[in-house]
Symmetry: C2
Subunit: 376 residues, 2 copies
Amino acid sequence: MKKYRLMSPGPTPVPEKVLLKMADTVIHHRTPQFQSVLKEVNEKLKRSFRTANAVHTFASSGTGAMEASVVNLLSKGDKALVINAGKFGERFGEICKAYGVDAVMYNVPWSESPDPAIVAKTLKETPGIKAVYSTLCETSTGVVSDIQAIGAVVSKTDAVLVVDAVSGLFADKMLPDEWGVDVVVSGSQKGFMLPPGLAFLSLSAKAEKLIASSNLPKFYFDLKAAIKAYGKNDTAWTPAVSLMQGLNVVLDMMLTEGLDNILSRHARLANATREAMKAIGLELYAKNPSNGVTAVRVPEGVDGSAIVKKMRDEQGVTIAGGQSELKGKIFRVAHMGYMDEYDTISAVAGIEMVLSQLGYKVQLGKGVGRAQELLK
Amino acid sequence: MKKYRLMSPGPTPVPEKVLLKMADTVIHHRTPQFQSVLKEVNEKLKRSFRTANAVHTFASSGTGAMEASVVNLLSKGDKALVINAGKFGERFGEICKAYGVDAVMYNVPWSESPDPAIVAKTLKETPGIKAVYSTLCETSTGVVSDIQAIGAVVSKTDAVLVVDAVSGLFADKMLPDEWGVDVVVSGSQKGFMLPPGLAFLSLSAKAEKLIASSNLPKFYFDLKAAIKAYGKNDTAWTPAVSLMQGLNVVLDMMLTEGLDNILSRHARLANATREAMKAIGLELYAKNPSNGVTAVRVPEGVDGSAIVKKMRDEQGVTIAGGQSELKGKIFRVAHMGYMDEYDTISAVAGIEMVLSQLGYKVQLGKGVGRAQELLK
């Protein structure tokens, strides 16, 4: 018997009380009964996103909300600046391409954070950029962006700032309204401690103004329909009722723990993991690491995919490997959501054992001990 | 204490064992563990759709799959024939409009089924129609279309036939491959006995050919990405893992009961409801009623919205009212999915009691007795 331990950067483990709430009776969505759930959820979403703006919820994966942030704000031929520092920045570029948006790509080396000065320079040198697409935590690399600094740059211009916070939210600090973030995109299966199936999008007044003039075609992700329904405490299309019921419970858990406490918990677990990895001689991949996920370079001579496979199939601990150009070169351990000290200790212990099996010289318990020191 | 009885045409009740399966540990989707779930689900979906074609699953409401059936098959300015016999036929027209497709609307009076001869005539008189959009069961009216006859017409032409079977599937018979249906669109929250949050789309070879030439923009609902992933036993975007786990269980339940037995059960319950309504002097709305939902005309002098409200808020039985032009004029009782004789008897009993409270002259038990005769 091996327990199933989900330590990947999405999906993440779901608390039992949330799982059980989602197993509750399915109720009809066009009723006062569901409207009262929706009203609670919408208020708590604002608080958890730390914004005064409405947060819209879609039944889709996070990619759906990323698409919504393009097709509702821009028109064909519009210019957008896409900060591409990994798989998810790249995806914003692909969405722009699919819809005929002229995406100016700022390609950041994958282990690095985007440079706000380059964002400023690009905005200055390329007139007419209507939106800047960025990523809080690049799940594919474990790098966190300095959204505060980017916000300070973008908010001085006419462009809106869209941040993909699918995996960063609640792990890495973000204050959208103070920092000048117009649109925050997120998903349910990371910091939210829910299964995948919901996507979120918050919308500032500055961003909402762009909607009226946008001529890109849309239907399911049409924010005009979403805004109209939101005003009536409704949803444009049938919502994923059971996930919404779970969301209501999980938001209570989060607001009870406190958003700053959640951030501190993530910071503690991420720091302990990073220091443990260094203690056993491993190198971290990200220059500015996110507190949501730690990317570790696979040591010389070790088969990177074997680490992930042995962890998952023999130890029962699901971590992630590298994607695209990082395939086999890094592994990624998540700290997002429903995670505590002993999850981190287990992950470190598993990595030590598997690396040892794969011929890497490691003193078992050295990394674990380092994590314990930091978590005691 | 009143139990919550969901008798609306979506969402519908979910069996307890399915609810509990969805409360199981969330697993990672890019693993052999999830791939084995997906492989099973994909095979069982083909069997339950009664098609040899691949059935693609999206994390979205049924509207998302409706959109997918437009944006992947057509190009800007293409002609499509939209059979509009209610809210959902209308929606196909709205999607076409949003994407610049030239929709030729065949507006069917709302209580009637589309006439296959008019479909044939329109196809003949309007050259170049690439796709015909139709609805198996119009949830808004409770009318079932003769898809077999429409299929016989469309399959002789170059056009593909798309059927919105979101609410009809498993309640009203459909044999896509035999009848010449190219694309079947469905959703999880009706006959599938699941919560909302999944949408389905099956694709014939004839329909798949259109994908290559389609120039409408798309990303989240891009079938090229879905097909590529399907071939690798994967999904393009993060799937709604817990709903997929539930789907795997529910498909077993359905295939064990047998698709023909499921159809017979729906037919029995729908027939008993219809006859019970007639026994208490009420008139049915649909000329060709679906076995998924029964639409009943609100009798003269009774407040239609009060029926639905009292049923829901006082009796605990959630039925549906009329939409748009039918608001206050009909009420709708569903038979879809996880429903048996006693659900039907309860619905009829509730309707009798509420109508009586609202001043309609009814001999309590008369409709119930009629239903019992037919269900014994």
